[in-house]
Structures are given as C-alpha cells and as structure tokens.
C-alpha cells in the first residue's frame, strides 16, 4: 500500500475510516483506544492497559519480556535463568543493548542466555528438580555470580511448579540470593505487568531479605537513577550530569546495575525516576517504607534537561543549585551549536511516535527543541497516568493511539504523511518500504545514548541522517 499525496487531513475521519475495516465487536473495542487530543485535555481520552484483541497484530510483548528483558536482565552481576522452554531466552538474548562494563561470562552475564530448556518430561512431571540442578550447575561453573533470578516462562505457572520453595532452599544452600519471578507471559496484557511483578519481587526478595552493604557510608547527596536501562549508554550520559551537579549516584536501576546497588538503594536521599511506567512501583514503595521521596525527571533534549536539573537541585542545598546552573551554562554553547547545525535541516518536520510506556511523551520536547512537530503519538503498554502526563507534552489535534495495531499504524501514517516515523524494529521496514524515514526508538537504532546533553547531540544527528539521507530521493525509478 502506498502513500497518498500530502493534503490537509481531518484526523477524526481518519480514525473512523480505519475503524471501518474491523468486524463490529472489535471496532467497538478499538474505538476506545483512538482519539484526537482536545484543547485543555486532562488526559488523552483513550482507554489503556486493556487486553489486546486477538488477531489484530498488536505490537506488544509479554510479562516475561517486561521482567527478564527490561527490569532484571540488565543487572549484570546476576545470572537470570529463562525458566521453561528454550525460545523466550533465545529471542531476548542480547537484543536490547543495555550496555554494561564487566568480564562477560566471569563476573557479568548480560549478553548471555541461560535456560532450563524444558522438555516434555519437565512439563509432565514438573521442573522443580531440574531447577535445583540448574542453580547448582550455575553456581559451580560461575563462582563469582552474586545472585540468581528465575524468570518464569508460561508453562511454569500452568504446571504448578513451586519455584519459591526451590529459591529458598537453594539460596540457603549456596549462600546467595536466589530470586523467583512469576512473570509468565500470559499474565497481564503486556510487558507492563512484568515490570510490576519484577518491582514487587525486588521489594520482597531483595529489600526484605538482604541488607545494605556493611560499611556503606551515606552522604547528604546520595541519589539513585531508577528506570534507566542504559540503552546505548543512556544511564551513563545521565549519571555524568548528576555527578557534575554534585550528587552521588549510589545505584543504577537497572542498566549497568548490580545487586549491591539494589540493596543499597534504601540508603538514598532521593530516588530519581526516568522511566515512570516500569519502576514507579518500587519508588512508591520506598517512599512509604523508607520515607524516600522520588522525583520524575526527563533527560531528553536541552529544554527538559535544564528543567529537570533545576528541579532536582531544588531538593538540595544552594551548593547543588549553583552547580546545576553552572552545568547548564557549561553545556549551553554545545547545545546552541547542535541546534544551529541541525534545526535548519529539521525545522517543521512532522513526526509520528509509537513506543513503549515513557518515550511517546518524554522525547517530544527533544523533537520540539529541533523545531520538529509531533502529529501522532501512542504507547504499547501505558496506563491512564501516562496518558495524563502526555497531554502537556503534545498539542491539540495530535492523533493518539493506544496499543495500536499494525493495520491502524500503517493507515494513520498513510493518511497523515509524517516526515519521520519513530517506533520499533517490527515497524521499521514497513515504513521504509513506503519511502518514509524511520528511527527505532527502543534501541536508538543501534546508536545512542540519547539521554543527557551528550546524548542530545547524537539524537539530533540521527534525526538528520534519517530524514536527509539521499536514498529517499532515488526511490522512484525514472522509467
């Protein structure tokens, strides 16, 4: 299907046209997830965090992906067992670019795939015995492992295995945390429940069963980075700014993170949270239990970075506030040069975004800083509080789509004709075939980091190289 000519479009009627293609029952259900943002809206007027409809080609993943792939997987000094059949761990093996520093296979295991590789007999007779053995073998072959997590795949919950009992027994035996996670893929409606389950497990099996490291000395400036998975090094280009304004980052959750950092987190003075969707649960828990305040921040694009640095600094004394101003001033000439270079090449370009649970709003101002315009945005697995947070980032008339289907996204793009589509790997080639510049906004399209001032320069460069590459100009044959 090819793109239509670029003509002004009535976005509401586009939604109605798209819905026409559905059988009636599904049409009614999908209608609740699509909307055009109204002026002064409190949220985006769409339903969210609801089951996907069978057969529509949802882009969503599962709870296992949310726990193993997102929250737990990046903890580098632990081994995460994909417990069940071989596939889940195979497909998620090293696919997410959560950068870390370590000796892989010796003291870090981030780019490896460990599985109990269930066979039919494990399904029939249960897999607990095998799990015992798996943990023994891991501890034996990888003596420097600091902890082990059990990431449940679908069959575990269906066949009634008692992974918690195994975890308790083995933890006592090997003297290291063994952490069972009930993140079977059929639970919940998307990755989101997997995030939540993973957060709860950290609460119950890390905070409640371990202590902060002996000898850890607190300072008044201790903060954490929560909800940054260090895609392409994002957490690093964020950390460096927090350190420059005089704070001490005692833990990274979970990109390039360690078990010790999780354990020491209750010692923080403030939890700073980037990906609200995947880790607000643990931040709220720490507020209740340890009285640690938390603050959301946004390190995409200079406007948001400066605002966030000031907000963060405001929680501390004047020395931090002064340093924050100094840091903002220090980076300003570089930011100005980046904008001077790229804005003329990107001004007025229209973008449609479809990503996970944070970036569909969080990256908006980075685009705005470059003079670009968001004409459509939506989330795979957001909840209502995300849509509430979205309204102030995007303007009236923006097309909003929740849990969009491949069919809908294709039709919306055909009708709205953006200059750039910013989504995931499954969407990338569909739109490139149509002749549309595309950037993967989960993996930064193998680039990054995009967080922080250093990341913004890369972000600007990447949007330029996508939109202004000559390949789009040779798409049509002259004959």
């Amino acid at each position: 299907m090819s793109l239509s000519e670029n003509t002004p479009v009535d976005v509401k009627s586009v939604i109605n046209d798209v819905l026409e293609a559905y059988p009636e029952k599904s049409r009614k259900r999908r209608a609740k997830h699509l909307n055009v943002l109204e002026a002064e809206a409190k949220d985006c007027g769409v339903k969210s965090n609801i089951k996907s409809i069978p057969g529509v080609m949802t882009i969503r993943g599962c709870a296992y992906a949310g726990s193993k792939g997102v929250v737990w997987g990046p903890i580098k000094d632990m081994i995460h067992i994909s417990h069940g059949p071989v596939g889940c761990g195979y497909y998620s093996w090293s696919g997410r670019r959560n950068y870390y520093i370590g000796d892989t296979g010796i003291d870090s295991w981030g780019t490896m795939h460990f599985t109990s590789d269930f066979q039919e007999k494990d399904i029939v007779f249960g897999g607990d015995k095998k799990l015992h053995k798996v943990i023994e073998e891991i501890n034996d072959l990888f003596p420097l492992v600091n902890g082990i997590s059990i990431q449940s795949e679908c069959p575990i919950g269906l066949i009634g295995d008692d992974i918690e009992a195994v975890a308790r027994a083995k933890s006592a035996e090997i003297g290291k945390p063994v952490i069972p996670v009930r993140c079977e893929g059929f639970r919940g409606v998307s990755q989101s429940l997997g995030h939540h389950i993973a957060n709860d497990v950290i609460r119950d099996w890390v905070f409640d069963k371990t202590e902060p490291k002996a000898g850890f000395v607190s300072t008044p400036y201790d903060v954490t980075i929560i909800g940054d998975y260090n895609i392409g090094g994002d957490a690093w280009s964020s950390r460096i700014l927090l350190e420059e304004i005089g704070l001490r980052v005692i833990a990274q959750w979970s990109g390039d993170g360690t078990l010790a950092e999780l354990e020491n987190t209750p010692k923080a003075k403030v939890n700073l949270i980037h990906c609200y969707r995947s880790m607000n649960y643990i931040a709220r828990h720490m507020e209740e239990k340890y009285n640690i305040p938390w603050m959301e921040y946004n390190f995409f694009g200079p406007s948001q970075i400066a605002e966030s640095l000031r907000k963060i600094a405001a929680l501390f004394d004047d020395s931090i506030k002064e340093k924050a101003e100094a840091v903002i001033a220090r980076y300003q000439p570089m930011v100005d040069a980046v904008i001077a270079k790229y804005r003329p090449r990107l001004e007025g370009k229209k973008v449609m975004i479809y990503v996970g649970g944070l970036r569909p709003r969080h990256v908006a101002d980075a685009y705005h800083d470059l003079g670009m315009e968001i004409i459509g945005t939506g989330y795979e697995f957001a909840h209502n509080d995300d849509y509430q947070r979205t309204a102030h980032y995007v303007k009236e008339g923006t097309l909003i789509y929740d849990d969009v289907t491949a069919f809908e996204l294709e039709k919306f793009v055909e009708a709205l004709r953006p200059d750039l589509v910013a989504s995931g790997i499954k969407e990338k080639y569909v739109f490139q075939k149509m002749g549309l510049p595309f950037r993967q906004m989960h993996s930064w399209d193998y680039s990054g980091p995009y967080h922080g001032y250093d990341g913004f320069a890369i972000f600007a460069r990447d949007m330029d190289l996508a939109i202004n590459n000559p390949v789009w100009g040779v798409m049509k044959a002259p004959f």
């Binding site: 529509v56 071989v86 599985t115 590789d117 269906l158 893929g185 059929f186 980091p449 460069r461």
Partner: protein
C-alpha cells in the same frame, strides 16, 4: 571538571567513542570502586583463566540441566517461517502474544524486512477456560484486516500446556463464520518443549500439505514431471531459493518449491509496502501432490513431511544443506536422475569455475582448523565443504543435533584424512564450544552472530554463514547453495582469512614483513 566538552556539534561522538573519553572512564572507575561491590580484579582474572582449562571443560561437559547460549530456538518460529513461504499467508500463533513479538523481531533483525504474523493473545482467563474464543475472534479479525489468502495456525507452549485442540477450534470458528468455510486454515501443533525450530518447520510443512493433500496414505495419485523441493529453515533462503530456481531453469525442470520465502523476505523499496509478496501459490501446493518426486534440502527439517510425501507415492530424496562441489554434484545428479534430463553445459561450466577458484586459493585453506556450529543440516553441509577445501573441521556442534546426527557427521569426517581431528557434539551449546576452543584451538569459527562472543573470548575469527546474522548486512541475499553459492561461501571464508592475516601483520616496524600486497 575541565571546561572543554568531549561532545561537539562539529563532530558528534556516539557510544563508539563518547564513553572512551576521560570523564566517562573516570566515572566508570568510580562507580565500580564505590558502588558495585564486585570481585577484585585478581579474582576475576583467576576465574577467567580457570574457565579456559581442561578442568573447567570437564565440569562444563558434566552439565545435565542448564543450557547456556544454545544454537536452537523453539518450534513456533520455524513453523512461522515455513508458513510465510506460502502465497498471501498470515501466520496466526495461538497462545500468549509476547511470543509473536519475539519471532517477528528475530526474523526481522536477520532479513531486515517486515515480518507479519498475528497472535490470538491469550491471557490468564484463557489459561483457565481455554482459548476457543481467542481463536474465533482472532481468525475473524485477521481475515478482515489483513486480507490473507490463507491463515496458518500454530501454537505457543501456553496453548500446548493447557491442551487446546486446533482442529476443533478452527472448525468451531468456521461455524461461527470467522472465516468462510472454504478459506484455507491449515495448522500445526508446535510445542516449544519438543524439538526446536527445525521441528516446527517440519510440522508446519506437514500441516499445510496435509490440509491440501488429505491425511491418509494414497499411493495411486497420478504423477507428472514436476519435482517438489522443500528448502528447510534457512537464513540464506532469499539467495538460495533463487539460485535453486536458476539451476532448475538451466535444466528445464519444472521445480516446485514448497514454502518459498525468497520474495516475501526481500521486497523492493519503491514506495509501496507489500505485506505479502511471492511465495508458493496455493494452487501449486494442491497440484504438488501429483509431482513425481520431492527433494528435501535439509533432512532434519523434514523428517515427518518426507514420510508423509512418501506415503503419497512420491519418490523422495534428502540432502543435508548441500554446499561445495561434491554435495552440489549430488544435488545436480539427483535432479538429472529424477527428471531424466542431461546436466546442462552451463552447470558444467559453473562447476569448473568453482573448482578453478578453489584451486587458485587452496594454499590459504589447506590445514586450517575450524569450529562449526548451527543447525544439524548446516553443520553437515559446512563440514563436507571444509573437508573438500583441505581445511580441517575440528569441533562440529549443534544443540539440535542427536546421536544419529553425531554418527552421520562422524561418517563424513571418516571419509577424509582432513577429518581425523574432527568430532561432532550433539545437544551441546556455545558455552561448551567455548571450552572446546580454549582447550583445543582452532583458526576460525563458522556460525552466526551469536558467535561474536566466542570470537571475543577466544580471539578466534568468526565467519557468519548461518541464521541469525544480525550484525552484518545483506549476506542472506546471496546464495550459499549451488556452484555459485559455494563460490560465495569460499570468498567469505577467504576474505576473513586475509583480513585476519592483515590485522596480525600491520604494526609498522614490528610485524609488517608479512603484510603482503600480493597473495
């Protein structure tokens, strides 16, 4: 804090160089020292050395339960791949929805192409009550939105564990008018806890054939001159299937590929997105029951399918990912034999050119030691080609490999003096291979992108010749089968060898004496 920033608008540094700047290096050091509570550098170095020893290898090979970096995926992705080789076919994966996101992602990352498949999106309630309603709605929605010519249903392990009955569910859905009664909905049960992606491939091929050909034995089907061919799960399918068609054209044979993804996984960029492209036509699948013979290019991908076809009265022939001169000869001879046609001169010429190229380059290949891993058929094909080049396959490993496969590889090794240091390892994984390479070194590794970690650990150059290849582009567009394909494989191996020689001889004033212009 110096005033000079590393980052600049003039020369934007991304992750390649940004994190090597001093301010980041200092930050990493500090994080490690103050917050990570890791092990001492000495302890890490000690354990690292220990993992390279014979003692560690023994421990590693004594493993019974944990699998580490396997060379296999699960059944459904193979079944999905097989289904996507039929015209206008949309796979519907019955079970949890996350699986489909994974399969689509994996295939897309390799082929750099869109990949379309839907899920019946079963959740907790379906786990309790079964997924019948998901099937009914799923078929109806997929049919209305994506206008396929066929929907091929397969299962995730969730649906298999709760025991959903595809045949009954699909019949029920048709009664509810999800799709028209005569709309083709073949299916395959593809439990992830049995076999691997190659078994899933087999199951789906058999599922599609059974749907169109009927299920029972029927030896008296009238036969024609067509020869069917089943390629198997193949990351190089785009180049390979096209090469097979060229070979058949040269012969003047009517070749019917059953499941041909070559066009679907290689669509042009011309402004139009083709959700479906090419593939084996449904009419041709129906007609293929009358073909006189069926060739399988990958025995271990087609065990049940070939048996089924045999029961339809066809002659069947099986190969093991034939690569190189003699394996291609065998394919060509089989085509001549089955068709009753003489081998065309053009193929004789291609063969001669391949042998010529090997002769030109043999000095760089002779005696070089290789580790090979991948699917069982690929390993056999690759081993044979290496032996033919005078290279020595040493470690041949496949997580999907059986005892029978090990014997088959051993037989191949026994057939050549270059095979005497070779051994097959079925059911083993890439962590085993790491131990093997550390304790019994090889010059090169042949495998896929996952081998890059082995390359880094053991400092052994990797040649990517099998699925998945995520970190190099477009190789799958070139064939590895046929004489032409063998030439491509030869060049890929040679290029890596020469790059390796250059990389080890390029320090001026120290190792530059072998940095030769002419080789």
């Amino acid at each position: 804090m110096s005033d000079k920033l590393s980052q600049s608008a003039d020369k934007v540094l991304d992750h390649f160089t940004l994190f090597r700047q001093p301010e980041y290096k200092a930050m990493f050091e500090k994080k490690k020292a103050e917050f990570e509570y890791g092990h001492s550098d000495e302890e890490v170095a000690r354990v690292s050395e220990w993992t390279k020893t014979e003692e560690y290898k023994e421990k590693n090979f004594a493993r019974e339960a944990v699998v580490i970096n396997p060379t296999k995926a699960c059944q459904p992705i193979g079944a999905m791949f097989a289904a996507q080789g039929f015209e206008g076919t949309l796979p519907l994966v019955h079970g949890s929805q996350g699986c489909v996101a994974y399969y689509r992602t994996h295939l897309t990352r390799h082929f750099k192409e869109p990949n379309s498949a839907v899920s019946s999106s079963m959740t907790e309630d379906a786990a309790v009550f079964g997924g019948l309603n998901n099937m009914i709605d799923g078929l109806a929605n997929a049919y209305s939105l994506y206008k396929p010519k066929m929907i091929a249903v397969l299962t995730t392990c969730m649906a298999e564990v709760i025991g959903d009955d595809l045949q009954g569910f699909i019949a029920n859905a048709k009664k509810k008018e999800s799709v028209p009664e005569d709309f083709p909905v073949p299916f395959a049960h593809t439990p992830a806890f049995v076999g691997s992606h190659i078994v899933g491939y087999d199951n789906m091929i058999k599922g599609v054939l059974s749907y169109f050909w009927g299920t029972s034995e029927n030896f008296d089907t009238p036969k024609n001159e067509t020869i069917n061919l089943i390629p198997g799960f193949d990351g190089f399918a785009v180049g390979n299937n096209r090469e097979l068609k060229k070979i058949a054209d040269q012969f003047g044979i009517k070749l019917q590929i059953l499941s041909d993804v070559s066009d679907n996984f290689d669509t042009p960029m011309d402004g139009e997105y083709r959700m479906y492209d090419g593939g084996t036509k449904i009419e041709d699948v129906k007609a293929a029951v009358h073909s006189k013979a069926t060739i399988s290019m990958q025995e271990y991908n087609t065990t049940q399918s070939l048996q089924f076809i045999k029961e339809k009265g066809q002659e069947v022939a099986k190969f093991n990912y034939p690569m190189g001169v003699t394996a291609t000869d065998e394919l060509v001879v089989k085509l001549a034999e089955l068709s009753g046609k003489a081998v065309p001169d053009s193929l004789r010429l291609e063969r001669g050119r391949l042998v010529d190229a090997i002769a030109d380059s043999h000095t760089h290949l002779h005696g070089k030691r290789f580790a090979v891993y991948g699917d069982p058929d690929f390993c056999i094909g690759m081993t044979r080609f290496l032996l033919e080049l005078g290279a020595e396959p040493v470690h041949i490993l496949s997580t999907s490999g059986s005892k029978k496969w090990e014997k088959q590889v051993q037989k191949v090794l026994d057939g050549s003096p270059f095979g005497k240091s070779g051994k097959a390892y079925g059911g083993k994984d890439l962590w085993h291979l790491r131990s093997l390479i550390f304790t019994d070194k090889v010059d090169y590794i042949i495998g896929n992108s996952y081998g890059k970690y082995l390359e880094r650990d053991t400092k052994t150059p990797l040649i990517r010749l099998t699925y998945p290849i995520f970190d190099r582009h477009h190789h799958h567009r070139y064939p590895t089968w046929g004489y032409q394909g063998a030439l491509n494989v030869l060049v890929r191996i040679l290029d890596r060898i020469f790059e390796d020689i250059d990389a080890n001889t390029n320090t001026v004033g120290q190792t530059d004496y072998s940095f030769d212009l002419v080789r």
